[in-house]
């Protein structure tokens, strides 16, 4: 009955995990390492490190991988469904009701009032990403890369997928020899 244990464990993670994927990692750890002892602390750290080498949401890679390891394919499916499905259904129901009454003035007001909040949240994420970026690459390199990428995407209309793919390929293929020179910055 590993599958049902997986399902309930990741249902709890999904329902308690506010703030997006990265904020859910401690909850996953509490279920997987502390409560069910499916993985040791080191194994959990390895899975997290491996998950971070890949793109895509971390909060579905971890349940998927842990589910597979504990309960095979059906364990993987049970864990992923438990994390994501309840709140997808909630989104569809709530936004569906909202759209139906969009013509009512006060409901329309609610929809408009939420935009500045999202703006602040997105501003916070912008700062967060830029701050992490300058910590790793320095102010100048981060700002230059941001401006060049922004120019390509928004001024020349290049699809962001091409810009990011080019960067990923360069990062992967370019040799890493001149470490000592960059270390002084």
């Amino acid at each position: 009955m590993k599958q049902s244990a997986l399902f309930w464990a990741f249902l709890r993670v999904g329902l308690l995990g506010f703030g997006g994927g990265p904020a859910m990692i401690p909850l996953v750890r509490a279920e997987v390492v502390t409560r069910h002892k499916w993985l040791t602390d080191e194994e959990f750290a390895d899975v997290l490190a491996i998950g971070n080498t890949l793109p895509g949401p971390i909060a579905t890679k971890m349940p998927g991988y842990i589910g597979y390891r504990v309960g095979g394919i059906s364990g993987c499916i049970a864990a992923v469904i438990a994390v994501i499905v309840p709140m997808i259904v909630a989104m569809i129901v709530m936004l569906g009701i909202f759209s139906r009454y969009r013509d009512v003035a006060w409901i329309r007001g609610m929809g408009q009032a939420v935009i500045p909040v999202v703006m602040i949240m997105m501003g916070q994420l912008t700062w967060d990403f830029f701050d992490k970026s300058q910590a790793a690459l320095g102010w100048l390199a981060s700002a230059l890369m941001a401006v060049i990428a922004g120019g390509l995407i928004y001024w020349l209309g290049v699809h962001p997928g091409w810009v990011i793919s080019a960067i990923l390929l360069t990062a992967l293929l370019r040799p890493t020899a001149k470490k000592r020179v960059e270390g002084s910055a």
Binding site: T60, R108, V114, I115
Partner: protein, 176 residues
């Protein structure tokens, strides 16, 4: 055809978006609002607001809702699968390889170098929301809600769900 477009609209952001769910938001916006025009900027903002107020990963909530909105249950299935399955398959299939390279400087560099691009796209999206709000609600409402939300979120670390609820109440009472 619509399923194929939905697949691409969520597959591309999730296969290039390093940095977890939040990094995927501006990439999904570029597809859903920018490229395919399935949603207006306002609808995307509403989706994001509710998504941030509810638990569980943001990337799958957006995929599920947008997919459903465009093409029903089948659309939701396609969009969510495109979000979840590719990176999960890579993780299951290439575990040994990834394990050996998990501390490799090249792999670290990949997520580091993508961050400034994600940051500028997030900044662009922030600006877009500002213009959208000025356009629909006017400068005074935008300023009041924006400052109140900034204080609640940044200063007092208030839960996003309460901030969204506060904005909904303000909108129902004062913007109509």
């Amino acid at each position: 055809m619509i399923y194929w477009e939905l697949f691409l609209a969520f597959f591309i952001p999730n296969i290039i978006g390093y940095g977890g769910g939040p990094a995927i938001i501006p990439l999904v916006e570029a597809e859903v609002v920018g490229r395919y025009g399935w949603m207006t900027s306002q609808e995307f903002a509403e989706t994001l607001a509710l998504g941030n107020a509810l638990p569980s990963p943001i990337a799958t909530k957006m995929a599920g809702y947008v997919g459903y909105d465009i093409a029903g249950i089948g659309g939701a299935l396609v969009a969510v699968s495109a979000t979840v399955i590719p990176s999960l398959l890579l993780m299951l299939g290439a575990l040994g390889l990834l394990y050996r390279h998990r501390d490799s400087p090249r792999v670290k560099r990949m997520s580091q170098w993508v961050r400034p691009v994600i940051a500028i796209m997030m900044a662009w999206l922030t600006l877009g929301f500002l213009l959208e709000s000025l356009n629909t609600s006017g400068a005074i409402h935008t300023l009041i809600i924006g400052i109140a939300a900034a204080i609640a979120l940044l200063r007092f670390n208030m839960h996003p769900a309460f901030v969204v609820m506060g904005a909904l109440a303000y909108g129902a009472l004062f913007i109509s």
